[in-house]
């Protein structure tokens, strides 16, 4: 994020505080930052318990999406038949509004953790596949010709050349996927749950408990930001060669 965006954050907080303090809007519609902070500290145990549930669903959904997405991408790149068969299905799964089919998953899978994870997987899966396919196809053709002259077996070419070469692309997909996975888990909680931040927000909404609603929203956003940063750190640690190049080409995302 750029310098100017960083300096706008306290400004937004001030605007929020002024609106609440001057009672421009009724307190039950927009709570003051103080009231929200109050809920965050006094109900910390309650919030933490539900935050953990949402985080758990998000991480599990994200992990499944990464494994399945990477495998699907590899199979698609190595077999054009599979690619032709799988691509329309993937695209369909992507364009179907996940929020609209979420209630169906609750009917099928019950009120447990399963439908939340399924929705998180469905939402996070697409960017993983697309970025991995792009990465695997972006490999230098001369590099592949070279490995042919070295007598490389297909798995050697994959392990030593294609897979590592695809990682920078994969990571840009992972950054999108991890934030989407949070949305997926919360959508799952909205349509039928008795725990998780989605449930907390629905409850608070029903009780017109706006400070709690705002607290839930804040924590939820924080999960997304933290996971995004974790993926970025993982990228820097795993692909130091890529990060050092990127720093000079000024496409930093955070």
């Amino acid at each position: 994020m750029s310098q100017s965006a960083l300096s706008k954050r306290p400004a937004a907080l001030v605007v929020w505080w002024v609106i609440a303090a001057a009672e421009l809007i009724e307190a039950y519609l927009v709570p003051s930052p103080g009231a929200t902070l109050d809920v965050l500290t006094s109900k910390a145990g309650y919030l933490w318990q539900h935050t953990w549930v949402t985080t758990y669903e998000t991480l599990l959904g994200f992990a499944i999406a990464v494994v399945v997405g990477v495998l699907a991408a590899v199979v698609m790149v190595y077999s054009s038949t599979v690619e032709r068969t799988l691509y329309p299905i993937l695209l369909f799964a992507q364009v179907v509004p996940k929020i609209a089919i979420a209630p169906l998953f609750v009917v099928w899978l019950g009120f447990g953790i399963a439908p939340k994870i399924l929705i998180a997987v469905l939402i996070a899966f697409f960017p993983v596949v697309i970025s991995m396919v792009t990465g695997l196809k972006a490999v230098d053709p001369e590099m592949l010709q070279l490995s042919a002259t070295m007598g490389a077996k297909p798995w050697q070419t994959f392990v030593k050349i294609r897979f590592p070469a695809s990682l920078p692309h994969l990571f840009s997909g992972l950054k999108v996927a991890v934030t989407l996975a949070v949305t997926g888990a919360v959508v799952g909680e909205f349509v039928g749950a008795n725990e998780g931040l989605g449930y907390v927000i629905l409850q608070a909404n029903g009780n017109l408990d706006t400070p709690m609603l705002f607290a839930g929203l804040l924590v939820m956003s924080l999960i997304g930001v933290v996971l995004f940063v974790v993926v970025e750190i993982a990228e820097k640690l795993l692909l130091p060669w890529h990060a050092s190049r990127r720093d000079t080409s000024a496409t930093t995302t955070f």
């Binding site: 010709q145 070279l146 002259t149 070295m150 007598g151 030593k160 590592p164 692909l239």
Partner: protein, 276 residues
Amino acid sequence: MTMPKQQTTPRVPAVAGAGPAAGVRLTDVAVRFRSKKRDVTALSDVSLDVAPGEFVAIVGPSGCGKSTLLKLVAGLLTASSGDVLLGGERVTGPRHDIGYVFQRAALLEWRSALRNILLQAEIRRMEPAVARARADELIRMTGLGGFEDAYPHELSGGMQQRVALCRALLHEPPVLLMDEPFGALDALTREQMNTELNRIWRTTGTTVLLVTHSISEAVYLADRVVVMSPRPGTVTEIIEVGLPAERDYSETLGRPEFRAAAAHIRDLLGAVSAHD
């Protein structure tokens, strides 16, 4: 900087694709590419006989099929007609008894210079100690010493191309194929690389096929220069350079044999494009 033409390491045992210099023979080779719109004949009636240990340079205008010719020898492309032999064997698929250098170094950016060179050894399953010793020798020979742990993005174009050359020579290939290896380098680096390549060729004794746009590079380095005509590529003439194997750069460029060969090739290429 004089080095006798000799083997400096004991022959690497049991490495696929290693061995003494091999000959290359192309007989009436033609290559046609078929696309939806039209058929393109990249090469037609190309015959060329390269002796083991010989250095042959190939020059010609862009699109005359010079690179295609190298890919045929490597087995990365199949001829539409005619025969390609490498070391007396017909080339039917990718050959492993060659080293290949492209215009771009094509290095793996997540590997250090040394580990890029050793990729060749890993894939061929060479004995690690033997491969390492050979890599160290090549690194010394190409002046890469001290840059073993540098990553490709930390190296200059010339250094990157040296790494690619070391990688191509690691398994002591009987034939080295080079496709405009110094085309992207500045003139000064290019001269340096030419001098080094001449020395490396004399040291390793390998057969070299070099595709280049530079007439002086071709004449300075090669025993014979193949001049090709534009599409469909054919061999216009093969010129014997007639210079000694060991060549000092500036001394060679002043020699009458060099000037005569270079002028002749320039005429041939000029005549070809004028005719075109």
